[in-house]
């Protein structure tokens, strides 16, 4: 029984197909129907938001196009300008379909921008903490603990109260509220990775500290970081909606999803459900689809759950 082909050293003519970790990851990700569906839903939402100016009948920010005459129309009514308001209109006469898509633009921008910035900042701080050790690590991690002992919504609320309204300020507030999650995740993973032998081997090759941290340790910390990143982005979007709902986020003239929900809130008991419910559904769909993708990413990237 000499199966020569079983020995890779002897099977030089037909080397195995080189499969990158990314290809393997992609194949595993699309095995789940729910996650694939959630990803498609999320991509459609992004596409609709990006294309909003071309596929909506009204620009809800352009006051010339908004008429108070159209206020509080139920879904399916015809607007003064002649188009149909499939999802009805709100108290100021904004077509809800248009307003939701424009609102999603703001929500997604805020969520993704704050997610990416918080990730970069938290990652750098976490890596420094893990690699420096000693007093620097202790100070950084106590600040992280302190920050995480407050609810993120409270931190964000305080920041917005201090900074004022506006998209840039909201993003800044969310970054301040969320960097600590990333820092803690990166530090924990980097500590585990740093003690692995490949780091020692890299040091023995005379590779500089900077390169060891960023080229060798960091890529090995990416898996948990991606998972935390998706979940935190979803939470940033709902946090922004919360702030706007409370009236401290974005101004009435730039309605994000949270502002739209807040606008309809006063009409809820009078039967005009659509003003709050449709923006609420849009928010729900966005957050749930991102979370489903994040959940499945965690399963795929967790080596302990590997088949």
């Amino acid at each position: 029984m000499t199966d020569m082909t079983a020995n890779p050293a002897l099977n030089a003519d037909k080397p195995a197909k080189v499969e990158t970790p990314f290809q393997r990851f992609r194949a595993e990700f699309f095995e789940s129907k729910i996650a694939t569906g959630a990803l498609i839903v999320f991509l459609i939402i992004v596409l609709l938001a990006v294309l909003a100016p071309w596929i909506t009948p009204q620009n809800p920010y352009d006051l010339a196009q908004v008429s108070v005459m159209d206020g509080r129309l139920p879904p399916g009514s015809e607007a003064f300008d002649g188009y149909t308001m499939w999802l009805g209109s709100d108290g100021s006469g904004r077509d809800l379909y248009s307003a939701i898509l424009y609102g999603l633009r703001i929500s997604l921008t805020v969520g993704l921008a704050s997610g990416v910035i918080a990730l970069l900042i938290g990652m750098a701080i976490g890596l420094v903490a893990a690699y420096a050790g000693g007093r620097i690590e202790a100070i950084i991690m106590r600040i992280v603990d302190l920050q995480l002992s407050f609810p993120a919504s409270l931190v964000a609320l305080m920041m917005v109260a201090a900074l004022g309204k506006g998209v840039d300020k909201i993003i800044l507030a969310l970054v301040i509220a969320q960097w600590a999650y990333y820092a803690r995740t990166v530090r924990a993973t980097a500590l585990v990775e740093r003690s692995k032998e490949y780091v020692e081997a890299a040091q023995c090759l005379g590779i500089s500290r900077f390169r060891v941290v960023f080229r060798h340790i960091l890529p090995n910390c990416m898996a948990p970081l991606i998972v935390v990143g998706t979940v935190q982005t979803a939470s940033a979007i709902s946090l922004e909606a919360t702030l706007s709902f409370l009236g401290v986020g974005l101004p009435q003239t730039e309605p994000s999803i949270g502002v739209l929900i807040a606008n309809g809130f006063e009409y809820m008991l009078s039967g005009r459900y659509w003003i709050s419910v449709f923006p609420g559904l849009a928010l729900l769909l966005t957050v749930v689809s991102i979370n489903l993708v994040g959940d499945h990413l965690r399963d795929v990237l967790n080596p302990r759950l590997k088949k």
Partner: protein, 325 residues
């Protein structure tokens, strides 16, 4: 032959909360060009720490407290980090025990090998790639172009260790420290790896320190051997002298406990007791309490003496190996 490495009186201690661990406590040896020196001992005898001390990679709470490490005549014990980083992977390379752990799982083989070249020389990426490919060919890896593009998980254990060896030889170092490079491999692969390492040291004139606990490996590979026990060298000499006529009771015991074909059916020799706790070494000779040849003199610390063309740290050299049988 000129000494590539001259270690004398090396002491590396770890200052832990429980006390001072004298992991390496006065080690002397030299390695010449093209020579393979076997550094043998049980787990915890300080052989790996000796290797890391040479590379200057002792993490706190440990540090080199005494002794000198002369590399090509240059003192590198406690040299500055910049100088050491320059030497590591360039003039002194290291090969590790577990090839599954020493390659970065998310970087391709070519990335990791080229990095080792580019860290020390400013050559083009193309040149670095070609040198990596040639190095893989040299250690007997078929179709090196394919292997360069692979990720570590796509290679077998033996293949990965070949990659590690090729990486160690990339910059034509003067010295390679191999820390149990064959322990994690099965015997057939072990033999191939030893063969490759031996061939390359002869070809390139690289000196090598081969750290292991496997006497059979050292017997077939090394030119000289140093046996370590509890942070000290207890016996040092030419490989044939030490393996055929061990003088130190510990060496005698180690050799007696290796099963061989010509002592079939006989009971193997067993060294009594356990490796000592490095925080509470016994008075006098550290091996004393476990020694089958101990006498009253052994409560004093034996110094290392020249005897029969070798160095020995024992009051009662074993003139015959018969005691074992």
């Amino acid at each position: 032959m000129s000494a590539v490495l001259d270690v004398s009186g090396l002491k590396t201690h770890f200052f832990t909360h429980a006390g001072v661990v004298k992991a390496v406590d006065g080690v002397d040896f030299t390695v010449s060009k093209g020579e393979i020196m076997g550094l043998v001992g049980e787990s915890g005898s300080g052989k790996s720490i000796t290797g890391f001390s040479i590379l200057g990679l002792i993490d706190p709470p440990g540090r080199i407290v005494e002794g000198s490490i002369k590399f090509n005549g240059e003192e590198i014990a406690n040299a500055n980090e910049e100088r050491l980083q320059n030497l590591r992977g360039n003039r002194i390379s290291m090969i590790f025990q577990d090839p599954m752990m020493t390659l970065n799982p998310v970087l391709r083989v070519d990335t990791q090998m080229m990095e080792a070249i580019l860290a020390h020389e400013s050559v083009s990426k193309q040149a670095a790639w070609e040198r990596s490919r040639d190095a893989l060919g040299l250690v007997g890896i078929p179709s090196p172009e394919e292997r360069l593009r692979a990720y570590p998980h796509q290679l077998s254990g033996g293949m990965r260790q070949r990659v590690a060896i090729a990486t160690a030889f990339l910059n034509k170092p003067d010295l390679i420290i191999a820390d149990e490079p064959t322990t994690a491999l099965d015997v057939t692969i072990q033999a191939q790896i030893i063969h490759e390492a031996q061939k390359l040291t002869k070809q390139t004139g690289t000196a090598m320190i081969w750290i292991t606990h496997d006497l059979a490996v050292v017997a077939g590979l090394a030119d000289r051997i140093s046996v370590m026990y509890a942070g000290r060298i207890v016996e040092q000499g030419g490989i044939d002298d030490v393996i055929d006529r061990p003088l130190h009771p510990y060496t005698v015991g180690l050799l007696g406990s290796v099963p061989t074909a010509n002592r079939r059916g006989q009971r193997l020799f067993q060294i009594e007791g356990m490796t000592p706790n490095m925080l509470a070494l016994p008075e006098g000779c550290a091996f004393g309490p476990r020694c089958h040849a101990r006498t009253d003199t052994c409560h004093r610390q034996p110094s290392i003496e020249d005897i029969d063309e070798r160095r020995l740290r024992c009051f009662n050299p074993q003139r015959t190996a018969e005691v074992v049988k």
